[in-house]
Amino acid sequence: MRKLLFQSLVQMSLTEPAPAADDAALAELGAALANVARRSLGRSLSIREVDAGSCNGCELEIHALANAYYDLERFGLRFVASPRHADVLLVTGPVTKNMRMALERTYNATPNPKWVVAVGDCARDGGCFAGSYAVAGGVSAVVPVDLHIPGCPPPPLQILRGLLALLQTAATAKG
């Protein structure tokens, strides 16, 4: 273990490099994201993820945000275990009728001000599951949505980009 830890100390960081203004989209996004987040919410933004019926593909890519390449927490963004600690609900999936009540309760448990981000094509309008007897529709059929991030599933960078767009909108409208 000491060898592994030592290697981690001396090797180059895996985290995508800091931005040159013209490229390195990820780190550039990250810097802008942090600035807006600081202005509207102080130093951090807490995110509660809710799977309302997803196939679990979106969750895999949301998980990837935490790995060393994306390192979400360097931007002050972090996932929290309870909606009561959250500023943002990140909702995936078509909302199944069996999850509708749980999503409503999670939304109601989140303190104001709060934003809802619908992640993935299913979360927009139900995607390929729309019209099923078991599906209520997209996330906006159940709770108000501030932003949709498209993709099936959206790659981690796309999710980051979406959070940035939300913050810019939120800073103008509510901040």
Binding site: M1, K3, D51, G53, S54, E59, F129, S132, Y133
Partner: protein, 504 residues
């Protein structure tokens, strides 16, 4: 007791069912099959309904016979399998919810996928009932001094899928876990009915996101079986390449997450990096990080080309350079082993009875892997080992994953070395009348069974997708008994059952 082949001879063999036979049987023969299941001679691979019929897929291990037996039930009643063979219990509850076919004698009257929220009862029956079932749900009764209950879910603390766990504990010790699933039921089998192959294929690839390659492969193979089509050799090899990449990505994720649930974050961080490398190589080779929709009936849609092959070779070298140190660290960290060894044990007799696929079965002595036992191309021409252990604990499930990662790396090297040239896809023939196909493929989690019937014009008339988790979730209830509540996340992650694949 006679073999499954002998039982089939007493039935009426359905025409146009491939590759394994399907026999329509009488209620007496159905009972014989139940007796063989209950007696442990055969294993249940699946049980699913139609509006006036019930099917079960069976495996006779003695001569590796696979078959489907079907019982017509015009009165929508049939003798319950679950009454004598518990692994069928939840499948029968699900088929009752969807089709309204009643398993006579089934000891559990409660809904399973139906929570009373659908505005309709028996949505896939010929004539659905407009009155929904009662929303009330009664958990199994508990009696005893000092017991308390802990309800968890459906929304969990982590970034995971929704489901409800009802723990009954005595102090710290779990005396019973009861699961309630069905929260992410999307009605996939209902949407499949009448769908084109393209639409149905997209649904199949979205049944369980972490197994999108395996489901795409299973659906394509079932369609190809029904139509009697063979895919080009290059397509078969690329399919296997994707399937092994998916297996490595998921096993790496699980290995790290299990260690993380034992509060050992270092392995988790390194595994997450390796997993990301796999997804990036997949993006380069196939144009999608999870390789979704890359497998279609008739072949594959993406070719890695020389750039993709090079990316995968680099990936293999990276994993081979970094992974052994993580394995050594796992093996030599006593505080981590203290959490995983003898925790969450699945006893071998339960593994025999429930026939769970994947690392759960293979960690408890069940030597079954579709790639070897019912080998499909190209695995019939590749060399690999199927690791099997007997301990059945979290540690054994970790080691099976480690060994399978090593095997998959070797398989990918073989696939790249012998990648055939040629077309990626064929045009499928049109079905002239109803035809049925079935497939079993080895996903990272275990064997996925897909059964379908196509109508003339290649529309899907009925498609059933059976996730490996159906026979794994119930074993988690058994494995957690006498463990402490705090070890549940560890046990659960070592199973990593699918919610979406199970709920459909």
């Amino acid at each position: 007791m006679a073999g499954l082949n002998e039982l089939l001879r007493k039935g009426d063999i359905a025409a146009n069912h491939r590759p394994w036979p399907r026999a329509r049987v009488t209620a007496e023969i159905w009972q014989e099959a139940i007796a063989a299941l209950a007696g442990g001679q055969w294993q249940l691979l699946g049980l699913w309904g139609e509006p006036d019929r019930v099917h079960m897929a069976l495996r006779d291990e003695s001569d590796e016979t696979i078959a489907v037996v079907s019982l017509d039930c015009p009165a929508r009643r049939y003798p319950s399998v679950g009454l004598h063979h518990p692994p069928a219990l939840r499948l029968e509850r699900a088929a009752r919810d969807l089709f309204g076919i009643e398993p006579v004698g089934l000891p559990d009257p409660r809904g399973w996928l139906d929570h009373g929220n659908w505005d309709v009862r028996h949505p896939l029956a010929t004539a659905p009932d407009p009155a929904p079932i009662d929303k009330a749900y009664t958990f199994l009764p508990i009696e005893g001094d000092g017991l308390h209950q802990i309800p968890v879910g459906p929304v969990h603390a982590g970034i995971i899928e929704p489901g409800h766990f009802r723990f009954t504990a005595n102090g710290e010790t779990v005396v019973r876990l009861e699961q309630r699933l069905g929260y992410v039921h999307k009605g996939i089998e209902g949407l499949m009915a009448g769908a084109t192959l393209e639409a149905a294929g997209k649904l199949a690839a979205r049944t369980s996101g972490d197994s999108t390659v395996a489901y795409g492969l299973g659906f394509a193979r079932a369609v190809e079986a029904a139509l009697g089509a063979d895919v080009p050799p290059r397509a078969a090899s690329l399919r296997a390449l994707m399937a092994e990449l998916e297996r490595i990505a998921n096993h790496l994720g699980d290995f790290g997450a299990i260690c993380n649930d034992a509060s050992f974050a270092l392995i988790h961080a390194h595994c997450a990096v390796l997993r990301e490398k796999v997804l990036r190589a997949a993006q380069t080779a196939f144009g999608h990080r999870l390789m979704r929709d890359c497998i279609v009936p008739g072949g594959v849609t993406a070719d890695p080309g020389s750039e993709g092959v090079a990316a995968i070779r680099t990936l293999l070298a990276d994993i081979k350079a970094l992974f052994p140190a993580l394995v050594e660290l796992y093996d030599n960290t006593a505080s981590l082993q203290d959490r995983t060894v003898t925790t969450g044990t699945v006893k071998p007799h339960l593994a025999r009875q429930y026939a769970p696929g994947g690392y759960i079965g293979r960690a408890s002595g069940r030597a079954f892997d579709v790639r070897r036992n019912l080998a499909y191309a190209p695995y019939d021409k590749l060399g690999f080992e199927v690791p099997v252990l007997d301990a059945g604990d979290v540690n054994a499930r970790v080691w099976i994953r480690i060994r399978e990662i090593e095997q998959s790396l070797a398989l990918i090297a073989q696939l790249l070395d012998g990648l055939p040239q040629g077309p990626l896809r064929i045009d499928l023939p049109q079905a002239s009348g109803p035809c049925e196909g079935m497939s079993l493929v080895e996903g990272f989690r275990g064997d996925i069974l897909i059964w379908l019937r196509l109508d003339a014009g290649n529309r899907v008339a009925r498609c059933h997708l059976r996730d490996p988790s159906w026979f794994q979730w119930p074993l988690l209830e058994a494995a957690i008994e006498d463990n402490i509540v705090a070890d549940f996340p560890l046990c659960n992650k070592s199973f990593n059952c699918s919610y979406s694949g199970h709920d459909l």
